[in-house]
């Protein structure tokens, strides 16, 4: 044991010498448990991004280290601590799950490193806990359901029932839709996360409530389980489904394999879609599909963006990683080409961006994917920005 640790010690000292010529990026995501399906997609996107950059940022080699959060806040914090303390990374990016981000943020920020969320966007991080070294390459949790609430108003839905998992993001989603939806919310069910995958009781309640619509948030594999049970319960006509983050490019191939046609035509809101027309997105989607034989998910798109956001910072200071102010200013300007198109950052370093209504369709090759139906918001800012003391 002792020998092993001193070997590790010697190894890190050696890399310490070589450190000057590289930029170290830690990427925390979920690589084990059922949540790994999301993490693997992000991993693919990050690797593709590095490939597209030619392995360099600002003249420095990129040293990328993945960390597995095991779908648990505590493990996520431990792996973050290791990246910060042992690997001494310059940036920590990733974080699918809001509760993992909340548990880990302090470790990164207290150490004076940059923290880039490639998915999670819980309210506190955008509001009272906002930090100059934190940036998001995704969204604030409430934004997407707020867009969905707007869609519900436009469609003239008078009442909805809400089902979501009982954790930070689930609460954010419910808060978001409540904020913009003008009709009546007849009931809210929060289910045990992530263990509960059978929603029979909740679906029966939703149906009995007599609501005109059902609003649901189930990320990852739970989304697939929910969609399946919704269809089995035969609610398609009596209780139309409106989802956020529950149908994605990860579940669609599984649905297609199982010929689960009910999912075709279902709609949800998002800040990105594979059909968005810009050079960066076209290259990303085409190369991702060529390499992995499937459409990238929004998780992948945001992870891809997070790398280019970091690149813009390192490029701006010409590889001088001690110039924190320069890198911060570069990221704040959001001047890199994002796959979602141009956006800006608010005072809390959350994107002010467009949101679209997406629909599940078949592409020309018969693959199930999505397209944009309409633009819901042109430039939407989250509501927590006002609680953030930064300018």
């Amino acid at each position: 044991m002792k020998r092993l640790l001193s070997a590790a010690l010697a190894a890190t000292m050696l890399t310490g010498l070589a450190q000057a010529a590289e930029v170290k990026i830690g990427f925390v995501t979920t690589l084990t448990t059922g949540g790994a399906v999301v993490g693997k997609d992000q991993e693919k996107a990050v690797n593709l991004a590095i490939e597209h950059m030619g392995g360099k940022m600002g003249g420095l080699d990129i040293n990328l280290i993945f960390g597995d959060d095991g779908f648990k806040p505590e493990t996520g914090k431990q792996v973050t601590d290791k990246l910060v303390k042992q690997d001494n990374v310059d940036f920590v990016a990733g974080y699918i799950w809001s509760h993992v981000l909340l548990a880990s943020r302090k470790s990164v920020l207290d150490a004076g490193k940059f923290l880039i969320s490639a998915n999670a966007g819980p309210g506190p991080v955008a509001g009272k806990l906002c930090h100059e070294n934190f940036f998001s390459s995704s969204w604030q949790n409430d934004q997407t359901p707020m867009a969905m609430g707007e869609v519900l108003n436009q469609k003239g839905v008078k009442s909805i029932y809400v089902i979501a998992p009982n954790y930070a993001a689930g609460k954010g989603m419910v808060a978001g839709v409540k904020r913009t939806f003008k009709g009546e919310i007849l009931g809210v069910d929060m289910t045990t996360w992530p263990t509960q995958l059978d929603f029979s009781a909740e679906l029966a309640k939703a149906k009995a409530s007599g609501a005109e619509g059902l609003f649901v948030f189930y990320p990852g594999k739970a989304g697939g389980a929910f969609m399946k049970q919704y269809q089995q319960a035969g609610l398609k006509n009596s209780l139309p489904l409106y989802t956020v983050f529950s149908v994605d490019a990860l579940s669609l191939p599984k649905f297609q394999a199982a010929n689960f046609t009910d999912v075709l035509g279902s709609q949800f809101t998002q800040q990105w879609d594979p059909t968005i027309d810009n050079a960066q997105n076209k290259r990303f989607v085409a190369d991702f599909r060529a390499k992995h034989g499937a459409y990238p998910s929004f998780y992948a798109a945001q992870a891809y963006d997070s790398m280019f956001l970091i690149q813009s910072a390192v490029d701006a200071v010409g590889g001088d990683l001690t110039n924190m102010d320069g890198m911060r200013a570069a990221m704040k300007s959001a001047s890199y080409s994002s796959v979602r198109g141009d956006y800006t950052y608010g005072n809390n370093h959350m994107p002010i961006q467009a949101f679209y209504l997406r629909e599940v369709v078949k592409d020309s090759g018969g693959n199930w994917t999505t397209k944009i139906v309409q633009t819901v918001y042109d430039a939407h800012q989250d509501t927590y920005a006002k609680d953030c003391s930064m300018n």
Binding site: L9, P73, K77, H99, A103, K106, Y167, A168
Partner: protein, 321 residues
């Protein structure tokens, strides 16, 4: 030192290694290994406390993680209110208050759950302690004020006289000394008349009852002592991780504690510490090689059970004792 048994040697060498290596890592800029050692030593205290009842008393508690959680929340809740306001009665950064709360709440929880659980035996005892652990888990999960399942970040650590817990070295020193004291305490208890009755009741309860001992009370006392020690480990763990969540009390965590004790060797002084060390170090090493580290880890556990009697300490039981 010549009259030390093999087991004795392993114990002494192990404790010396734990005293020297981690500070060495910190001084050479390997802060992460210091963290690892701190976690290991704190969980070692919890495992030692569990060993008192599991190894020596034959009471297999499958809910011991609840005490860790209670101890940790005894730091987190007062600190949270001192930062964000509310609940003036306990809102404070005062470490002594946190400590009193941690020990007091653990004792109370142990007394109530122990009094009920000890009516059962064997597997039923395992399961009823698990049930109480799960109740604590779900109770904290249901508390919206403390973010339920999402957990609580401790912004300010307990403020103690003479010791600054923000210093990794001092926190480790406190944890290490606590571990030594915990081991000595268990040793003293086991060798006392109280300990004799406890072990006697494990072997043959009827006989001890016939001899006129109220074994139920002896067991309850041991259960409460163990719970309080474990709650103390929770107090340290909360201050160490600065992030606490109901997950710390989940049955899988209680299971891990149990595995540490059995892996190292139940009813031995150093076994629980060896178990927690091996558990955490092997996990750390394997997981740095592959995300599928559970596979070799599982095989290792099966191998230990199949081929070594009495856990890893059984390897050193060649002669003596």
């Amino acid at each position: 030192m010549n009259n030390l048994t093999k087991v004795g040697w392993v114990t002494v060498m192990g404790m010396i290694a734990l005293a020297i290596l981690p500070p060495y890592f910190l001084l050479t800029g390997q802060a992460f290994y210091m963290d690892l050692a701190t976690r290991l030593v704190i969980l070692g205290i919890a495992a030692v406390s569990l060993n008192l009842i599991l190894g020596f008393g034959g009471m297999v508690s499958f809910g011991h993680a609840a005490f860790i959680g209670l101890g940790a929340y005894a730091v987190g809740i007062p600190s949270y209110h001192a930062t964000w306001g509310g609940f003036d009665l306990i809102a404070s950064y005062n470490g002594l208050l946190h400590l009193v709360l941690a020990l007091g709440v653990s004792a109370l929880f142990a007394l109530i759950t122990g009094a009920i659980s000890l009516r059962t035996k064997g597997v039923y005892f395992i399961m009823i302690t698990m049930a109480f652990g799960q109740m604590a888990f779900f109770l904290f999960q249901s508390l919206d004020v403390y973010n339920g399942d999402d957990g609580l970040t401790i912004d300010v650590r307990s403020e103690l006289p003479f010791i600054n817990l923000d210093s990794p070295m001092q926190l480790y020193g406190l944890s290490y000394i606590s571990l030594v004291i915990a081991m000595l305490l268990v040793k003293t208890i086991v060798n006392s008349r109280f300990g004799m009755v406890l072990q006697g009741a494990k072997g043959n309860n009827e006989r001890m009852v016939t001899l006129g001992y109220n074994t139920y009370l002896y067991r309850l006392a041991a259960y409460v002592i163990s719970g309080v020690m474990c709650g103390y480990a929770g107090f340290l763990l909360g201050n160490f991780t600065t992030f606490i969540s109901p997950d710390m009390m989940h049955w899988t965590r209680s299971g891990e504690l149990m595995f540490m004790v059995i892996l190292g060797g139940a009813a031995t002084a150093f076994g629980p510490v060896l178990g927690s060390s091996v558990f955490i170090l092997v996990e750390e090493i394997l997981s740095s090689f592959t995300i599928f580290w559970h596979l070799p880890f599982g095989l290792m556990l099966i191998g230990v059970v199949l081929f070594i009697r009495g856990g890893l300490m059984g390897l050193f039981k060649g002669k003596g004792k």
